[in-house]
């Protein structure tokens, strides 16, 4: 059963990223996602970038046809929403490092806010191709997080991979947990930085999704289904899934390299 929502607000976050806000009552937690149906077009999984209260939001990066189409949606337009689905970040640790690349910040921002609201200390290593693409940079600062940015083109902050910032921080500072979301090669590097140190790492993953109910097997990932066992996985779980960072399944279920 889908709920039809009318988009209330559209915010251009970066040149390639748009947030859509809409009224949606179902309770949700940071880490969870919804299925967003663009009538007449596809339906895609999207992390909730705003989870609290009745006005939820998703933040969409242009990838292909449907995400482009979603970006053209504006106030007054209708979307079909179901969910939220999936698991959530455990908000109990106190000193939290976030490592976000690209649209990965979409799922990390509400998690960071929730952690701050509980009195947690939040540090954010935020990466993007260039300065203008740094997602939710203000939002992280506004919540009182320590933010350090990295850009591929050096237009701002560290010139290079965000994982280099993360690696330095993990080595220097004592964190109780690391949360990361972004390309899987990036997340593999974060895991590598944390390896041998006792800090637990949780990664938010993306896989092709159809049912989001843990039934159709589209999002099969090793012994897991990303839609119900994830999208947040522990480093330990990821060692049991050899596909991590290497393979995903396409719409037909074929295992293809990432």
């Amino acid at each position: 059963m889908r709920t039809v929502v009318r988009v209330a607000e559209r915010v251009e976050e970066t040149p390639s990223t748009v947030t859509l806000r809409f009224p949606y009552e179902a309770p949700a937690a940071p880490g969870q996602f919804v299925m967003v149906w663009v009538p007449g077009d596809d339906e895609l999984p999207m992390s909730l970038s705003y989870v609290n209260g009745p006005r939820k939001g998703v933040t969409v990066k242009v990838m292909g046809a449907t995400s482009r189409r979603i970006q053209q949606i504006g106030p007054g337009d209708l979307l079909g929403i179901r969910g939220p689905y999936g698991n959530r970040f455990d908000l109990s640790p106190r000193r939290i490092l976030l490592v976000g690349g690209g649209s990965g910040a979409a799922v990390l921002a509400p998690a960071a806010e929730a952690a701050r609201a509980r009195g947690g200390e939040v540090s954010v290593a935020l990466g993007a191709t260039r300065s203008s693409e740094l997602l939710f940079r203000e939002r992280f600062s506004a919540m009182g997080a320590r933010v350090e940015v990295a850009t591929d083109d050096g237009s701002e902050g560290h010139h290079g991979f965000v994982t280099e910032v993360a690696d330095r921080w993990i080595a220097d500072a004592p964190f109780d947990v690391v949360w990361t979301c972004g390309p899987e090669v990036m997340m593999r590097k974060v895991l590598a930085s944390a390896a041998g140190r006792s800090v637990p790492v949780f990664c938010s993953l993306e896989r092709h999704m159809k049912c989001a109910l843990g039934m159709c097997d589209a999002c099969a990932f090793g012994p897991f289904h990303v839609c119900t066992d994830g999208p947040v996985f522990s480093a330990e779980q990821l060692t049991r899934a050899e596909d991590f960072g290497r393979f995903h399944r396409d719409a037909s279920g074929r295992r293809v390299p990432l």
Partner: protein, 322 residues
């Protein structure tokens, strides 16, 4: 503790609960996971000759917790990619049944031959998908076609062949008889019911394909009627499927004539742990009813087959059945 083991279509199952085709059935690790969760056997997603992406999303719509509409469009990685998945599934130790679909008898036979070579314990022919054009019901609605397809497949393999029958028909028993004539080792029933959901606010069908198939608790009474009619019509075993979510549902199917059952949609609502629960609860229910073995209950609700009360039943049970 009642014995849940059954002999069905030449396969020995530790319990009667099979994973239905299309649920947790695309990847080898998921199939293995279903076995670990307690399935007596697993049926793969229906596999075709080529990789198929299936229909665009939305491909499913829930109908409260009572039903589920889907129009996946038979997505599958194709038989070329499938050996590695089956290999992983087989390691879990329970029988793996390979489901296949094709547009004609020769296509079915070729896929069956290739699936058989992978070491599966049996084959299920999907003659009954209600929404995939050129396949499923389109090839499985005429007894003549069903008989020809089954016969051609049976000639091409030594494995037991299970024909999966559509409920979207006037006479499911006629289709089952055709499968029996063609040499099927068993028939399974039912696949989903042709169905539709419309979103009135968006003024369009919810599923991208429009029409889909209804599964889940809503269809149990329809599946039971099909199994009942088929059991009266054929001598080969019947496998019941449609809306099973409790041990009592499963026992209804068994008493209607099923030797084994498949479970699909319940996994979406209750998770894969449903297998362990079903076996546990069925054991308890059989104990309560005085059955030492599940097999004694097969067809027990049919007066025509002269079924009697379990030997061990007390007065109340006997009086109930007289």
């Amino acid at each position: 503790m009642a014995d849940l083991g059954v002999e069905c279509a030449g396969m020995r199952l530790g319990n009667p609960f099979l994973l239905a085709s299309g649920i947790w059935g695309e990847s080898g690790e998921s199939l293995a996971g279903a076995v670990r969760a307690g399935a007596g056997g697993v049926i793969t997603k229906s596999i075709g000759a080529e990789p198929r992406a299936g229909y665009p999303n939305p491909t499913i719509e829930t109908y409260s917790e009572w039903g589920l509409l889907n129009a996946m469009g038979l997505p599958n990685p194709g038989i070329d990619e499938y050996p590695k998945e089956v290999a992983i599934a087989l390691r879990a130790g329970a029988p793996v049944i390979g489901s296949v679909f094709a547009g004609d008898a020769a296509g079915f036979a070729e896929l069956a031959r290739r699936m058989a070579a992978l070491g599966v314990a049996g084959l299920e022919l999907n003659l009954s998908c209600p929404h995939a054009e050129g396949f499923g019901t389109e090839v499985g609605s005429e007894p003549r076609d069903v008989e020809e397809i089954v016969r051609t497949v049976v000639r091409s393999t030594r494995l037991p062949v299970i024909a999966k029958i559509t409920p979207n028909t006037t006479d499911p028993a006629a289709l089952a008889r055709a499968a029996e004539r063609g040499g099927a080792a068993a028939v399974s029933a039912i696949n989903t019911l042709r169905a539709l959901a419309i979103n009135v606010r968006l003024r369009r069908p919810v599923l991208a394909h429009g029409l889909g198939g209804l599964s889940g608790r809503a269809i149990k009474p329809v599946g039971l009627a099909c199994v009942w009619q088929i059991y009266e019509a054929v001598s080969i075993p019947v496998i019941g499927v449609g809306g099973i979510a409790t041990a009592e549902d499963a026992l209804e199917y068994v008493m209607a004539g099923a030797r084994a059952v498949e479970v699909g949609t319940a996994i979406a609502f209750d998770g894969i742990a449903v297998f362990e629960r079903l076996s546990r609860e069925l054991s308890g229910l059989l104990d309560e009813l005085g059955y030492a073995r599940l097999e004694e209950a097969v067809g027990a609700a049919h007066p025509s087959k002269g079924n009697a009360a379990p030997a061990s039943a007390g007065r109340g049970a006997i009086s109930g059945a007289r």
